[in-house]
């Protein structure tokens, strides 16, 4: 009968069915649990609990909403759920460091989080509502939260001009520019200058093969026979512009052979006036006189020398030109003379101005440099064969290209190397797969990559061609910050529209002024309409400030206005004609419309002048910063010749609002009354140094 009951189910199947059904139901019941215990829900509860235990509960929970909070800015491509857990970012009472994260308030910044989101600055994954996914590198998100030390890097994505709120970024940009990284890499916001390293076509005229060999080993002259740096300590020395490449002796011998073998136009030795040579040749104090002249011309404004002070060797002088302590061992005497005579003939794009030398000065300074600024031991450890071998030359040629020397140095007849290194203009947005980690043991992430690569290129890639740099304390971080700010155009269109471009005005001087301007390289130190150096005063408004006769006189004999400064305007020996052209141009063109020179001023009375003197000396104590004659402070310029120097209208405007004329001046902005201003001006225009303005100089008005 059982065989006929074809519906009979065995007990075993029943049992299996029962068990599987029970497990099935349990599993179905368990399935939603994961959602119930999401991380963000935990933080929501924790915040609620924390707020509940504080006196300002009501305020903290005013915007509390038990679900997921997000900031959504479609135009910026921002979908940030960070605020789901970081619930206190806008609560001023939660700024205290004892408040546990993620509830602490955000420091006050110019950008509101609700309008910008969080990930625009901090990176990380805004979509995420889990701690790990939001902050770390995961399969779905490569760019983790930016460490706070690099946070200024994201400022630079939009702010292409330096902003005071991001000093590390500005420093990093400056270091990158100083180190000529642009030679090999494309960089965002940095233009390739006309000249990076010197043209090496005629280096044979300038120096010896031994010196090249030595220089390639360590591009510093301030090393002793053992190669040790004896100045200021290694770390404190600024990294020289020429980095240290990893070259072995064979490679150095080859490169030096190649460079010294270049066919070049031999320079004709300069023929000194025979009377000068005769008069000075035998003088025992020739070299001392040369040194005096060297100092008087303020070469140290641009060049530094090692000086022993208090038992310690220090570098004294500017860093615009190369350091010169041992330059006598480097250059050949004939080359030095022709260089001083006309640097632009050797290096047309160089920064060295063309002085108007007298034969006498040239002879003295040349002798001083060749005799005093030398080190006979410098090249004694260089042992290379006298004659450059053909195979050395050949491999030197190859090395020159392999090492990317042509990226910074020009050699006539050789193709300039462009983009030798990788393009870094979007380095900060690079994905990990674009980075070559090689076999390096480090987290696969952009930030550790940049840190190690810049600190020690070989640590990442043993075959790296990038030279080794030595950074001052903190500079490595600044450089990484600046590199992270280079995101190219890969940022979202919304952000791209917000980019505040770095306006770098090009100032082109033309005509006669242009020739003199180029000859004396005025722009190396002075700034003209935003273009040029910052060592010396900005001359964009010089015409509004200074009177033309004074400018003419100053150019011919630059007496300093601030006698305590090491860096001073050198003595160029400007000719009368050039001084006239320069002064004329500066006075008539370089003006600001804030100062109206044509406005009529009533004559000042002597009462006003004495009232002004009273204000100057008693009421406002101006002498604590300014000197008149020999009395007073050294912070501000010497006003002894203010009457000849400054335009009346400028003084008036300056007293009204100095920062409006020179934004970063330290002159205090005081609220003078109109009478006080007039009185002070009246007093200042009376300050004239007699005899400084010669009658022979034509005044600007006469033209």
């Amino acid at each position: 009968m059982a065989a006929e009951d074809m519906g009979k189910i065995s007990d075993r199947v029943r049992l299996v069915f029962t068990i599987s059904s029970v497990i099935f139901l349990i599993v179905l019941a368990v399935a939603p649990l994961r959602n119930l215990f999401s991380e963000w829900k935990y933080y929501k509860r924790e915040y609620f609990r924390m707020a509940d235990g504080r006196p300002d509960t009501k305020k903290l929970l005013a915007d509390f909403h038990p679900g997921i909070d997000q900031i959504w800015q479609p135009n910026l491509n921002v979908t940030d759920r960070c605020v789901t857990c970081h619930q206190g970012i806008n609560q001023p009472s939660l700024t205290d460091a004892t408040i546990p994260q993620p509830f602490r308030a955000h420091p006050i910044i110019p950008h509101r989080a609700t309008e910008w989101g969080c990930t625009v600055c901090h990176r990380g994954q805004g979509f995420a509502t889990e701690v790990k996914e939001a902050h770390q590198t995961t399969l779905a998100w490569e760019q983790p939260i930016l460490p706070v030390r690099y946070i200024q890097g994201t400022c630079g994505v939009c702010h292409r001009t330096d902003i005071p709120e991001a000093p590390r970024l500005a420093r990093g940009r400056a270091v990158i520019e100083d180190l000529s990284c642009i030679g090999c890499h494309k960089l965002q916001g940095i233009e390739r200058p006309l000249m990076l390293g010197p043209d090496l076509t005629n280096i044979k005229n300038k120096t010896s093969r031994e010196w090249i060999f030595k220089w390639l080993k360590d591009p510093r002259t301030l090393t002793d026979g053992n190669g040790n740096i004896s100045v200021n300590g290694y770390e404190n020395e600024d990294e020289p512009r020429m980095p240290r490449f990893r070259l072995n002796d064979t490679e150095r011998a080859a490169l030096s052979a190649f460079l010294i073998d270049r066919k070049s136009n031999l320079i004709e030795p300069y023929k000194f006036d025979s009377r000068v040579t005769a008069a000075w040749e035998k003088k025992p104090d020739l070299v001392d006189q040369g040194e005096t002249r060297f100092r008087q011309m303020f070469c140290s404004t641009c060049h530094s020398l090692a000086v022993v002070r208090g038992g310690e060797t220090q570098l004294i002088g500017g860093d615009i030109g190369p350091e010169l302590t041992k330059v006598g061992s480097k250059v050949k005497p004939d080359w030095l003379v022709s260089w001083l005579q006309n640097p632009q003939a050797y290096l047309p794009q160089g920064l060295m101005p063309r002085y108007g030398w007298s034969d006498e000065d040239l002879y003295k300074v040349n002798h001083y440099v060749m005799d005093r600024l030398t080190d006979p031991d410098l090249l004694k450890d260089v042992r290379i064969p006298e004659q450059a071998q053909a195979n050395d030359i050949q491999s030197g040629n190859r090395l020159f290209q392999q090492k990317g020397c042509g990226s910074c140095h020009v050699i006539a007849g050789m193709k300039a190397q462009k983009d030798f290194g990788p393009d870094l203009s979007a380095e900060g947005a690079k994905s990990v797969s674009e980075l070559d980690f090689g076999a390096a043991k480090m987290p696969r992430n952009l930030i550790p990559y940049l840190e190690s690569k810049i600190a020690d290129p070989v640590s990442v890639n043993p075959n790296a061609r990038m030279p080794q740099y030595h950074f001052k304390e903190g500079d490595l971080g600044s450089v990484v910050t600046a590199a992270l700010s280079m995101r190219g155009t890969q940022t979202t269109p919304g952000i791209h529209a917000l980019v505040i471009a770095d306006a770098r005005p090009e100032y082109q001087a033309a005509g006669d002024f242009g020739k003199a301007y180029e000859r004396y390289k005025c722009y190396v130190c002075h700034r003209f309409n935003g273009y040029g150096g910052t060592l010396a005063p900005d001359l964009s408004y010089e015409g509004s400030r200074a009177r033309q006769p004074w400018i003419t006189e100053f150019l011919k004999n630059p007496q300093t206005l601030r006698p305590t400064l090491t860096f001073r305007m050198p003595q160029f020996n400007v000719t009368d004609e050039e001084a006239r052209v320069l002064a004329n141009y500066l006075a008539l063109v370089m003006q600001t419309n804030r100062v109206d020179l044509t406005a009529h001023h009533p004559e000042f009375t002597s009462d006003q002048a004495s009232a002004g003197k009273q204000l100057y000396e008693v009421t406002y104590q101006c002498q604590s910063c300014h000197t008149i004659g020999s009395a007073g402070g050294y912070v501000g310029p010497n006003l002894i010749n203010a009457g000849n120097w400054l335009n009346t209208a400028w003084i008036q405007e300056w007293l009204t609002d100095p920062q409006a004329l020179v934004p970063d001046t330290i002159e205090p902005h005081r609220a003078f009354t109109a009478e006080e201003k007039s009185a002070l001006t009246a007093y200042l225009v009376t300050l004239k140094q007699s005899g400084t303005v010669k009658a022979s100089v034509p005044s600007g008005g006469s033209r």
Binding site: M1, A3, E4, D5, M6, G7, K8, I9, D11, S21, L25, L28, A29, A31, P32, G67, I68, Q70, W72, P74, T79, R81, T114
Partner: protein, 165 residues
């Protein structure tokens, strides 16, 4: 061979106690019913979005100077009118209370007109005529510490409440 037609025979149950069997069946049925209800609940939860990609209900509209006196400004993204009168600011919804069309401010007739069914509203949001059943709601407006007006569309205020800036 058994000649009985098995199809016609009532088979005795295997369980000794039919009551217990029925009870277990009912229990199983109930468990599956609970599972079904639970599944529906989870599905409903799944289908209710946790985040919305909609324009913010709380937004800044710039400093008061941006709005001329006696002017009505339509903000298309937020769909509100900013009305500035000598008494102060009011913010009125631009969505017709009839069937949700976007109304238009008409300078000529000094009215807010709905293009769909011809409703007309006065500058204070009250209904002039037309099918619209109720006046346009007013939203809360305030001033931030940095001098920007803010509107909160989630808070509806009485039409008499005017913000003096």
């Amino acid at each position: 061979m058994d000649t009985r037609n098995p199809d016609e025979t009532e088979q005795p149950g295997t369980a000794v106690n039919p009551d217990r069997r029925d009870f277990l069946n009912a229990l199983a049925g109930a468990a599956f019913a609970v599972a079904a209800v639970g599944s529906i609940a989870v599905t409903v939860e799944y289908l209710s979005p946790n985040v919305l990609f909609e324009p913010p209900t709380n937004f800044r509209i710039g400093p008061p100077e941006n709005f001329a006196l006696d002017s009505v400004t339509y903000l298309p993204e937020q769909q509100v009118y900013i009305v500035r009168e000598p008494a102060g600011f009011t913010v009125i919804s631009a969505i017709c209370t009839h069937l949700g069309c976007i109304t238009q401010w008409s300078e000529d007739i000094n009215m807010i007109a709905c293009p769909c069914h011809g409703s007309r509203f006065r500058k204070n949001g009250s209904v002039e005529h037309g099918p619209a059943p109720s006046p346009l709601p007013h939203f809360l407006i305030g001033l931030t510490s940095d001098g920007n007006l803010t509107v909160d569309k989630l808070t509806i205020v009485p039409p008499t409440q005017v913000f003096k800036a």
